[in-house]
């Protein structure tokens, strides 16, 4: 059971790193326009949170794109 939990956490984190790369580059600025005038350091600081909460942030991004479409 412990092996399985560790594996799941590792997969979640791996997907999170990839998703966060896209979010920090593109998606977050669409979700929160205030981020456009913020420094690169701020986006890097937000990166770990995106890794942890990437499903929520991806959902928000999709919602924003649907509303604007």
């Amino acid at each position: 059971m412990f092996d399985f939990i560790l594996l799941m956490v590792a997969f979640y984190a791996l997907i999170g790193v990839v998703a966060s790369g896209v979010l920090v580059s593109v998606g977050l600025k669409r979700i929160d326009p205030v981020l456009r005038s913020s420094s690169l350091g701020v986006r890097l600081l937000i990166f770990p949170g995106c890794v942890a909460l990437w499903p929520i942030m991806l959902f928000k991004w999709v919602s924003v794109e649907r509303k604007s479409a």
């Binding site: 560790l6 956490v9 205030v34 005038s37 420094s39 770990p48 949170g49």
Partner: protein, 350 residues
């Protein structure tokens, strides 16, 4: 306040705060390792890496207890506010210490074999049975990681205050896991009871303070439970200092700050739109209510931040009856203009 996110909104208070925190942590770690090397000799000698692991672990536990006690203590005395205002810095510092402890454990106990170091530490040691106390620590660290990673204004703004706060309430689950981690881990190999006694004192302090603060809040809510539709007597005008506020507590944990300025009175919600800071503890600066936590400002007559900022807070009606101030507890929507009550020549009411 700003219309762009900053890494850290530095001010003198934050710099002093961080200096004290970092200095204290480094001082603790060096003292722990130094005293350990001097006192544990011969048969009782402990290697430096293990001393460092213990130093980081105990430092993290002490920090966690301090962090958990700040909130309830602040309900009893304003002197703790100096620790409360930048508690997130303390939280992130705690996470760094805890993560370093975990890193050292994985590297030292699991890093020299053929198996994956993390698996080796979390699983390998307990394949033959026994409580996997390291797993409690691992789960706690995951929760602390999420909390530290979301300790920025961006997350508060985009997750919403309710969800963000709920996420950070996970500290209590993590605290329970940490206690289990210590009880089934370090305490099982300790022969002297001192560590168990200290942990017990810490747990009693955290639980006791939370209970006492909760009972105090419950009692306060009961005393203000009549504040529904009727106008509430705030008190004498003369009791409200110039450019400061009196705070009135209503139902459902709402509180209102009644500010006095330029011969008039205005009432706004007591929670700052930024991070819920206590506006009533702030003051009027340049004609604006200024939050004591991070300096966010609001015009007292409408609860709006001055342009180009867009934060808003609820406003309330006030009435003056003789020399007393009356408050309508029904909140106006955030950013609604309300005529200030004039102190001189205030209207008489029936």
């Amino acid at each position: 306040m700003s219309n762009a996110y900053k890494l850290v909104q530095w001010n003198r208070h934050k710099r002093v705060y961080d200096f004290v925190v970092i200095g204290s942590v480094l001082g603790y770690l060096m003292t722990f390792v130094g005293v350990g090397m001097l006192t544990l000799r011969g048969d009782h000698a402990v290697s430096v890496p293990i001393l460092a692991i213990r130093a980081l672990g105990t430092c993290a536990i002490v920090l966690l207890h301090v962090i958990l006690c700040i909130g309830p203590l602040a309900r009893f005395t304003a002197r703790v506010n100096v620790l409360l205002y930048n508690r997130r810095h303390l939280g992130v510092a705690f996470f760094c210490v805890a993560a370093l402890h975990a890193l050292l454990v994985v590297g030292y106990y699991g890093g020299f074999g053929v198996e994956n170091p993390v698996s080796s530490v979390l699983i390998g040691a307990h394949r033959g049975g026994g409580v996997a106390f390291e797993f409690f620590g691992f789960l706690a660290l995951l929760i602390f990681f999420v909390m530290a990673a979301t300790s920025h204004d961006f997350w508060l703004a985009n997750l919403g205050a309710t969800f963000w706060k709920t996420l950070h309430m996970g500290v209590y689950i993590a605290y329970t896991l940490v206690v289990l981690h210590v009880v089934f881990g370090a305490l099982r190999s300790e022969s002297a009871p001192i560590s168990a006694v200290l942990l017990g004192i810490g747990v009693v302090c955290v639980l006791g303070l939370h209970l006492a603060a909760g009972i105090g809040e419950w009692g306060r809510d009961r005393r203000t439970s009549d504040h529904t539709r009727d106008w509430i007597d705030v008190g004498l005008i003369s009791e409200i200092p110039e450019d400061r506020a009196r705070v009135v507590h209503l139902d459902n944990a709402r509180s209102v700050a009644v500010f006095r300025y330029d011969g008039r009175l205005s009432a706004v919600g007591n929670a700052c739109a930024h991070q819920g800071g206590p506006l009533g503890e702030g003051k009027i600066v340049d004609g604006c209510i200024t939050c004591p936590w991070h300096g966010y400002q609001y015009l007292p007559g409408c609860g709006q931040s001055p342009p180009p900022y867009t934060e808003t807070i609820p406003t309330y009606e006030l009435r003056i009856k003789g020399d007393r101030v009356l408050l309508n507890p029904a909140a106006k929507p955030a950013g609604t203009s309300v005529e200030p009550a004039l102190i001189d020549g205030g209207e008489e009411d029936d």
